[in-house]
Symmetry: D2
Subunit: 327 residues, 4 copies
């Protein structure tokens, strides 16, 4: 097979760096430009020093013309702006990792619709898509925990979700809440009731279950670790534990990276991988669903490559069978 020429815009951030680490090992991909406003002209391995010995590439200020697929790793709000400023890129396959095109109302560009890039929900659409809106990290974790219930129209009560995330979720720019002295050994809640990912979660759930009416209470929390999200969803349901297990197992039976279990999961089972594990527990009429992902991989760069693999007809797991950190 011919190599796929890939470019990354916003290559000097966390997700850009993770994309690089994955794509440098992808057998079917050649990275032909890594655009960074702040680092243009500098060696990539001088910035991401762990890549010493793996690449001689240099950050550039523009996207190479031969590019087949473009990954946009820009801050929320800037992706749309960047594409409008660079109409010549509209002919490329585009995978956008920002929020800009995730909601149906915002998804149109150049008369084509961005497909929401959650393979567990839209695999066949993704395979045919030119443009992909890559889901948010919290949004991926929580949706994977709730989609099967929505499909069966079982989301008929308030769903309470507590989810804790690592510091990489806050991005690379230093701030008070990513200061080591403050965050170490700490826990804190933020954006109570108004986290921006709630909208894309509601959109997907509503897509599967028309009667679902945004009855999600979401408390995001900052944890003292760098990677990973654990979401705990709690709700009332009449389904038995076995029915729930069967429902989920069936829903994810062809998923490449999502696994269902009734045993205890922990966050580090997925750190540095593209996997999602979902633990299901039922007591009386109450169901607890715990889902875990790596926010930078299944929650960002890994899922982006998974989408690329689907778009180009490659085996879905290519370059994504990553060694788990475990410890």
């Amino acid at each position: 097979m011919q190599t796929i020429n890939a470019s990354i815009v916003g290559g000097a951030g966390y997700t850009g760096g993770e994309l690089l680490r994955i794509l440098l090992q992808h057998p079917d991909v050649t990275i032909n430009s890594v655009v960074s406003k702040s680092q243009a002209g500098n060696k990539i391995s001088d910035f991401f020093t762990d890549l010493t010995g793996e690449t001689d590439l240099i950050f550039t200020s523009t996207v190479d013309k031969k590019t087949d697929v473009l990954f946009l790793c820009l801050p929320h709000g800037e992706s749309k702006h960047y594409l409008l400023k660079h109409p010549e890129l509209a002919s490329k396959k585009i995978i956008d990792l920002s929020r800009d095109f995730r909601l149906s109302n915002d998804a149109l560009f150049n008369n084509k619709k961005f497909v929401y890039g959650l393979p567990e929900l839209y695999r066949s659409d993704i395979a045919k898509a030119d443009y992909i809106a890559n889901p948010g990290c919290f949004a991926t974790t929580i949706q994977l925990g709730l989609l099967p219930l929505a499909q069966k129209h079982e989301l008929n009560q308030t769903v309470y979700v507590n989810a804790i995330t690592g510091s990489t979720g806050a991005g690379q720019k230093p701030s008070d809440t990513t200061h080591y002295s403050w965050r170490h050994s700490n826990v804190s809640a933020y954006q109570l009731f108004n986290h921006p990912h709630v909208e894309e979660i509601n959109q997907s759930l509503h897509h599967l279950q028309n009667s679902y009416h945004e009855q999600l209470v979401f408390v995001p929390q900052r944890g003292s670790f760098t990677r990973g999200i654990m979401a705990t969803a709690m709700l009332q349901t009449k389904l038995s534990e076995n029915e729930v297990l069967e429902l989920y197992t069936n829903f994810y039976k062809e998923a490449a990276f999502t696994f269902v279990t009734n045993k205890a999961v922990d966050l580090k089972m997925v750190v540095n991988t593209n996997k999602c594990f979902i633990q299901l527990s039922k007591h009386k009429d109450q169901l607890v669903i715990i889902s875990v992902i790596d926010n930078l991989l299944k929650g960002a760069a890994g899922q982006a490559v998974q989408n690329m693999n689907l778009m180009f007809g490659l085996e879905e797991k290519t370059a994504l069978q990553l060694k788990c950190l475990t410890f």
Copy 2:
């Protein structure tokens, strides 16, 4: 005032050690025996090396006769056994940090009732008590977050609680889930639906609100820090945010260590102190209550000394105005 002679049984565990660190600085207390089966005969400062320079005491195998107040820091199940084996101790004031006497049905000993030692709920009873059952760490955190609602009979829906605890909650004996390699940067849930503290929480809530019927869904989680518990309670209520704030502020207006706020709290605000902070947030008909304590202090040894201060008519905060770790 005459000094209070205090003894600790089970002095070589986490809560025993914390009691020692507090009582050694207590102006009204003399520690006259620290009993430890495993360490009897050894210098305390050789075991708790941080206490070097602060005490020449030696662990003993029996309680000194002059003891006025006895702190039992034994594993759950062993306190009752110890008291039965040592009837001569029944005449002392007793503060038991295990679960053995917390539930009404189990609280009778020597024809006297153990008072549940939560000063925010039973201050005047504690002041008159001879025997105190010191509350559990999760139980303290969650109750302080819910008591005012129960008092106002506003617990009429399922209450969903997610609470994350530090590794000291698991005790001193090394285990798989306190192994550094596993726990570091990890999160995991455990004892879903059957944590032993739920019973004492239900007992207190029911005491205040007769109509409350154990509708608590509790997901305990292990965090990657050593000290502290953050409990997030979520429920539906018709009370407005202001009504809730007023209710809580009023309920805790005489509490020595419990503070109510509508600003963001974080775990490290209480680490190494005897304080509890409660954050209240309301959106539409949903209320989120976040409460934080140090599990070894307000959740164990600190609250025990607070109870002792009340029992002996001392200022409630004596020896408990501890410097916060903060960072």
Copy 3:
């Protein structure tokens, strides 16, 4: 005794905050102004939220006139500037926590000399001083590890020192090397061969041993914790382990917070206290000296209060018998 009126300039930084936490509990001190350019007018407990319930003080923009003792918690270089701009403060007792007056050549101000505030070395001078230059955190740790050898003129070989520090040593302003994502689980060296504390260490060692000639190789490292410094000094000596132990024990026999041992020490023995522990080990002709302190306390705010106690004739340990974090 009459209360001491204390003011803090630079009260909204890490060391300012620690001073506040200590002085609020000091029985002989009234805090009468806490100056902060950025926070003037704001409630202290809104900024240091852990102090909720402990103070109603408000940050100010100027030092109160009744002040008896002034703590300067300004960035290096700004203390001298501040005093020059405020000549009215020259009549106060001053304890400067910056580097500005630590070196003999820079120590003169208003015709009076700043005394180097290391009580283990200059206790009697401190007691008589008006101005104190509070030592650096690395400087305190390393000096306490080497002073007895210098006193005995036994520093005749290169001394190799590796010291690892917590993130609070880097100050409150967020930066790349205090970003949680980078620092967590990481170790790194910095300012190899040119750390600014080396000069004050050399000055003290030379003061005790004329023949000492700056033969210190110092590798500072950043650790993945918030508080504490562990310094490991290694050198050749003909003294036996017992001679070294006796030398150190004797040197520190009247030290209020510094303890010598031949058992293993660990960093958390001193975290959140004003103590220093020194571990000595000898093998053949090689001596290893491990010293540990809390960089914000014995390495800054704690030692500053210790100096204040000495300057005002108070018991040296007043308000400094802090509960160790331990875990």
Copy 4:
């Protein structure tokens, strides 16, 4: 190429698990037995839950007969014993990860010599070997930092080495020093002057420089992270920084995973990879050498696979181009 049948003995420990994670992705390897006394009969993915979805293998109690290469991941002392008890395994290629065969005097088995498996030193011998003694983790880090100097006969002074290691270095069995409550945010030294890895380091250095006489002072330390070793070696030398850089660059010019730099390195540059980075800094006549590896990979399982690749004539990096954790 025909597949290599690989077996692991002691497959339920940390290094066994890491080997599994690597070999499951190795294109030229089939794992045909994973022996574990404690787990025999259990599914591997029930024990290493992160491997769910990647293997259906079951732990066994004996080595499969078709095995081509055997990895021994047994505790120190048990490898030799195991091989003596199983003479039928002597005909296999053997890679032993314990200390049992690392020292020349102990290296003979079945009339064949175990080759010390440090590819940077013995690549061609490894390629021809049947038996490999895989180096220790500290030993690998420190040797890679010193070998070029030994080769040039420049180790003529005492070498002072401080090295800090993650908790996985202490193995899987829970203990007091791997208890999360104790180790978190802590640093401590251990086995001062008598760490068992010193012997193999001395052996290699002496092999390159006859005049080297064990003048290594080694202070191992426990850090608050799970993976990685940073070794800081300090010594006097007349070589200039440029001469040292050239010497090291030249020595490692064909190394697959070892890189030399005069820029700052940090531990996380190598975590979850098989790489080693070496940072060199010179000031006056003093040289500081900082080397970093992942103790479970380049310090154990990764290097074992690197050795296997060499023994079977495969590309040295096969299955070892692992995605760095970075954050």
